[in-house]
Amino acid sequence: MQPFTTLTGIAAPMLQDDINTDQIAPVQATRLGRDDRGLLFQRARRRADGSDDPDFVLNRPHFQAASILVSGHNFGCGSSREGAVWTMIANGIRCIVARSFADIYRENCLQNGLLPIELDGEAADGFCARVVAADGAAPFTVDLVEQRIGGPGGPDIPFTIAPADRVRLLEGLDDIGLTLKQSGDIAAWEARMAREMPWLQTAHDARDTTSS
């Protein structure tokens, strides 16, 4: 996983609440092989005739290279589909600042080195206003080391993130590799449970006489 330390880039405002994974990456369009780039906001990006909608924020010239997305409450609600994070990264978006995130979407961000920043209340109001005012003309800088967002229109804005999540992103840790270091604990749990609740440690079809 690519580590995240600091990022300087254009911030694009999509300030609605409850932007869902069907909007971010429609399931009907997913293809095997992770060609994720074209999925991003596929329906909102295009008009009914299939042409690009010039009014959609990420289609506007200033925002085509955006690397920060700014949104409202409950960003990423809906499906657990990780393609809704992969398509962000495929389009160069490495940080989403939202008032809140859906639980699974936030975890999927952390798994992929995409920084999910929760900013609420007045801090969010102020930041959103600055992003709208900047209108893609000047970049913002997100610093995960110092936990600050800087950019045009005002002083740096501090943000909080769980220390464990911060370390995961800063170090780009391989989550599976870390867990495998605790294989001994897992094996011990399995051995204990095979005694205490043996029905949990076997999944066997009683009709399948060949393996009974």
Partner: protein
């Protein structure tokens, strides 16, 4: 003194393998159910890293999201889905994972197949790379939906690294009137709490209404937990659950069964357990619910009207207005009477045998209204076979419904089953998001009997009035 614990705490504590240095806990996953939309990516990445599947014997695969529902289907019946089906087949074979493939007599939607075969057990943990994983909370299992990276993590380690969610109990008191179902209860809860109201919480459903529910209804209730943003949802297992499970192919048998039931009887929240949040809802006056907007919280009873854009802040008004524009509805319009183009009965929310029975009871002796396209897709091939044995397929077909092969179908349209722009679709699914059932399709979520009533009248109507002869 022992700290009083919730049902969730008891299952969580029993499955805690270790605490990680980063503060997350490693929670053992007893049953891992995969489907073809996501597992192929995870197989590929696992193989790139040279990691084996730790417990293929505790893992099963199904084909559901991208599979055609056409009679006589094969891989190519839905060409877009064919690569997923093949990759799932090959990946499952390489890793020694039992696959419920196209053509298997027990294929179906992951959340329907696993419980009906008895793979889901009370007090067990369960993971599926799908947000509706908590469906099986209806049996008292603790289930987590996950993304592809977490899926890969579980394949390699059989654990998930999780932060413990907060706890919420939703007490459902009173009783349900005729034609008022778990679906209506769930939609009402989402309306009260909002689509983010459960964020970060594990929900326990309790109360007289829950105790009186069948297991299938409990699964419908738990299925919709994610639609209020909650991490998971579950119901304390009881004799109804034990009776439902006993004798199913993967359930324990003999002395092991007795021992398991003994342990399962302890799976209740202690009387003095403290929840981070408690909610009580009286269901006595609940009527059948219909969504009017583009998220499941935008719902009213069938006697209700499309609301005015709320007198909330500008952002809220804009979002309601956007929903009304998409749905082609004006504020103040009664839901009852809206013309319908398409009806879909199916999905992990409402496709089990009692759901089909509920719809068939309305359809018997009636015909789908002219101009309405109506589909019913059983949740599993087992459900389909049982329904056919009971003659339900004839009821649906005689009424003019398409009787499909099992799969997720029009819930998300990932298999090519979708509506046309501007169509108004009455659906027993879980999400009325913009474009989910096809570009421009206007989805109204309802229960199976309400969907059947819409199909035969060509309008959204109160099924109770239809059955009383008042329509």
């Amino acid at each position: 003194m022992v700290r009083p614990r919730t049902l969730f705490d008891k299952i969580w504590d029993a499955h805690r393998v270790a605490r990680r240095p980063d503060g997350r806990e490693l929670i053992y996953i007893d049953r891992h159910v995969l489907h073809e939309l996501h597992a192929p990516h995870a197989f590929e990445r696992l193989e790139e890293a040279g990691r084996p599947v730790r417990r293929p014997d505790l893992t099963v695969s199904v084909q559901d999201h991208r599979i055609s529902t056409l009679p006589g289907r094969d891989d190519l019946s839905n060409p877009d889905g064919a690569p997923f089906l093949r990759a799932m087949r090959e990946g499952s074979r390489r890793h020694g994972i039992r696959l419920f493939d196209l053509g298997d007599p027990e294929q179906g939607i992951c959340h329907v197949v696993a419980p009906e075969l008895g793979m889901v057990l009370p007090g067990a943990t369960h993971a599926v790379p799908d947000s509706h994983a908590p469906t099986v909370g209806g049996l008292g299992a603790l289930a987590f939906g996950c993304g592809t990276s977490e899926l890969e993590h579980i394949l390699a380690t059989q654990v998930m690294a999780l932060k413990q969610p907060k706890s919420m109990r939703i007490r459902l008191e009173g009783g349900l009137g005729p034609c008022v179902t778990a679906k209506d209860v769930a939609l009402r809860i989402i309306a009260e709490l909002g689509v983010a109201g459960g964020r970060g919480h594990a929900v326990e459903y309790a109360g007289a209404v829950v105790r009186a529910m069948t297991i299938e209804s409990r699964m419908t209730l738990c299925n919709l937990t994610v639609e209020m943003g909650a991490r998971t949802g579950l119901i304390a297992p009881d004799d109804t659950a034990f009776a439902w499970l006993q004798g199913r192919p993967y359930a324990p048998r003999g002395a092991l069964w007795d021992r398991a039931v003994g342990a399962w009887r302890r799976l209740t929240s202690d009387d003095d357990a403290v929840f981070d949040r408690e909610v009580a809802i009286d269901c006595s006056s609940l009527e059948p619910q219909v969504t009017w907007g583009t998220d499941p919280s935008q719902v009213v009873g069938i006697s209700g009207r499309v609301p005015e854009p709320w007198p909330g802040d500008a952002a809220r008004q804009a979002s309601v207005q956007r929903a009304l524009d998409y749905m082609g509805l004006a504020p103040g319009t009664p839901l009852s009477g809206l013309p319908v183009d398409r009806v879909f009965i199916g999905s992990c929310t409402n496709s089990r045998l009692p759901d089909l029975e509920e719809a068939a009871a309305v359809l018997r002796g009636r015909r789908v209204a002219p101009g309405v396209t109506a589909l019913v897709v059983p949740g599993s091939t087992t459900v389909k076979r049982q329904a056919e044995a009971a003659g339900l397929d004839r009821v649906f077909r005689d009424a003019g419904f398409f009787w499909g092969e099992s799969g997720c179908s029009m819930c998300a349209g990932g298999n090519g089953d979708r509506g046309r722009p501007g169509e108004r679709c009455v659906s027993t699914t879980n999400r009325n998001f913009e474009g989910r059932q096809g570009r421009g399709v206007r989805t109204h979520l309802v229960s199976p009997s309400m969907a059947a009533a819409a199909a035969v009248t060509g309008r959204i109507v109160d099924v109770r009035q239809l059955l009383d002869g008042g329509l």
